[in-house]
Amino acid sequence: GGGSSGAAGPSGDAFKISFANFTEAAPLFRVIHTNLDDVISRGDSGLELKWYDNAGDAAKMSQNAQLMVQDQPDAIVVYPVSAATQGVSQILADGRIPCVSVNLDTEACDFLNIDNRALGEQTAEIIGRAAAERGWNASNTTVLIGQNAASGEQVNDCVRYFYSTIAPILGLEEVDPTTITPTTTTIGANAIQFEGASTLQPSFEAVTNLLPSIPAGNNIILYTVNNDSTTGALRALEDAGRGGDDVLLIGGLGGDETGITALREDPRWVAEGDIFVSWWGAYAAAMAKAVAEGAKPPADVTPLPQIVLDKTTVDEYHAPGSAAVSKLPPLVPDNEFLDQSGVLQYVRGVAGL
C-alpha cells in the first residue's frame, strides 16, 4: 500500500519529501518504496515521505506532479514515466521546489541515474571474455538482446552498447550503437533484438516465436534491459531445449534476487549488472535533502551506485547465501555530497560511511 510514513518527531521539524514512483505494480520499482520506508523506520532520519504512483502512465504522472507541488514539501523526488518528463518538468519548475529526478532526466530537476551505457559495456566485456574462451564466434553464435521501447532511449542504451562492445570481441558485424532503434529487429547475421516490454510473458512469447531465426546449433548470448525480460526469454529458450549450459551465456541486469541467485548457482549466468535498485529511494532522498540544504550536484548527472558483478565478486556485495545487499560501492567524487544529508547513514554498509 501507500500512505505516509513519518518520522518519530513532530512533523513540523521533519523534512518532507513527496515521492512519485514509476509504478507500484512491478517488483523492480516496488522495492524502491518498501526499502526506503524500511530505512526511515530504522530511526529518526528526520524524513517524512508522501508516496505517489505514476502507474507507468504519462497522464497519471503529470497529475501527480501537480499534486506534489500542491503538497508544498521541502523536496520532490520523481521517477518519471518516459513520455511525461518534459511536461512534468514545467510543472515542477513552476513549483520552485527542489527536486530530484531518478533514472530519466527531468530538466527542472537534478538528475540521479545509473550509467546504462557503462552497464552494457562492462557486461559485454565479461560475457565476451567467457564466450571467447569457449571459442564462440561469428560462425556459431547468436546474440539475443531484449529492449523495452516504451521506456525510452536512455534505458535501452544498455542493450545497444552491449552489442557494440561484444561485437568486436567475438568478431561479429560491428555497427554504430545509435543505429540500433526500437524498430531494429536483426543486427547483421549474428544478433536479434526482440521487444520484451520489460515483462515476463511478452518476452517469452517474442523469443518463442523467433526461435527458428536462431540457426540450429548456434550458441546463444542473452542480455536484456531487466531480469524479468531475461527470465521470460530464458524460459522460452529452455522450453525449446536451447538452454544447455554449454550453449547459452546470460548477462543479467538488476541485482535482484533472481539475478544474484542465478549468478551464484547458474553456470550460464556469468554476469549481473548490479544497480542496487532497492536503495535508489534512499539515495534519492539523500540527494533531495542535500540539494534542499544547498549542496551543488554535478550539472549533468549524479551517479547511483552500480557495478557489474561476476561469479567471483558477487559475495563481496551480497551476504553469501542471500541476495540481501551487504555492501554498497563507496561514494565517488561526483556523489560524495550525498553523505551531508545524513540520510545515507541509515543505509548500513555503504563502503566508507
Partner: protein, 340 residues
Amino acid sequence: MKTTTGAPVGDPAVGAPGAGPSPRRRLGLSEGALQTLLLFGFLVLVAAYFTSRDPDFLTSRNAVNILVNASVIGIVSLGQLFALVSGGFDLSVGGIVPLGGVGFALLVNADYGVLPAVVLVLAAGGVWGVVNGLLIAKARINPLIATLGTLSVTGGLALTLADGVQVPFVDVADGVLTRRQLFDVNNHVWIFLGLAVVVFLVLRYTSYGRQLYAVGGNKQAARLAGIRVDGVTVIVYVVSGALAALAGAVLASQLLTGSGTAGTNSGLQSITAVILGGAALSGGVGGVPGTVIGVLILGALANGMAILSVPSFYQTMATGAVLLVAVGISQFRSSRRAAS
C-alpha cells in the same frame, strides 16, 4: 362469478408500471433532470468525503488540478456521448488519442504551427471516424468489434509514427493548448467547457441532435420517419474520432511530448464517464450535463485517491465497481421505461 380480485397471479411487476405517479412526477422533474441532480449530489458527497480526509482537496487550486486532468478525458467523453446516444460504442478512441498526440507533436516539430496542426489532427481523427462509421453503418459490423479493430490499427499506427519512442516538442511554446492564461486556468480546460456548451446546444437545438436521439431510441421508427439513419451514424463516429484526436493533441501539449502510449485507456474511461452520466446502453438517452458530472466524479475519485495515496490498483477496482453500480441503475431505468 368468483374472482381473486387484486391478488395478481404470478409476477406483479408486469402490472405495476402503470399504477400511480412516480415520485419525480410529483416533483415535476423530467427523468433525465432528476438523474443529473442525483449524480450531482453524488459528486458533492465524494468531494465532502475527500475533504474530510484531507482539507487540501477542497482548494480552488486542487479544483483546477481536477479540471486539468478531467478535461482531456472530458473532451473524449463528449464524442463518446454521441456514440452511446446513437446506441453504439467507440473504443477506437483508445488508439486515436495517442495517434492524435503523436501526430500533433510531429506536426508542430515540423513547424506547421499549433493551429494548422490542430486542424490537421482533427481531420485525421475525423477520417478514422468515417472508417468506423462505414464499418458500422454500411458493413453492419457490431460497433464494439469495429472499433476494437480500428483501436489496434490506430494504436499500432501511433507507435509506428512515434517510432516506438515518444516525440518531445522541440519548442516548448507549442504547448500553448494547455498553458495557464485566462484566470490562471489552463486553456484546454476552457476548450473542454466551450465544447461542452457547443455539444449541449447541438444535441438540444439542432435537427441533427433530434435525429440522433431518434435513431438511438428506435432505428426502424427513425428510418420510417424518413431519417437517413446511416448518415446520422457516420457523423457520430466522425465527431467522436475528431474529438479524440483533439484530446490527444491536448494531452501531448500537457506532456510537451507526443507518446504512443499516452491515453490508450481513454476508451473505457470515456464510456464509464458517459454511462455514469446517465446514458443508457440501449441508446437514445444521455446528455451533456450528466456527462460532464460523470467526468468530474471520475476525476475527483482519481485525484482524491491519489491525495490519500491509494495504490492505483485499488483505484482500478473502485472505478470498475462505480461503473457496475452506475450501469445497474441505468439498466434499471431503461427496463422500467420499456415496461411502461
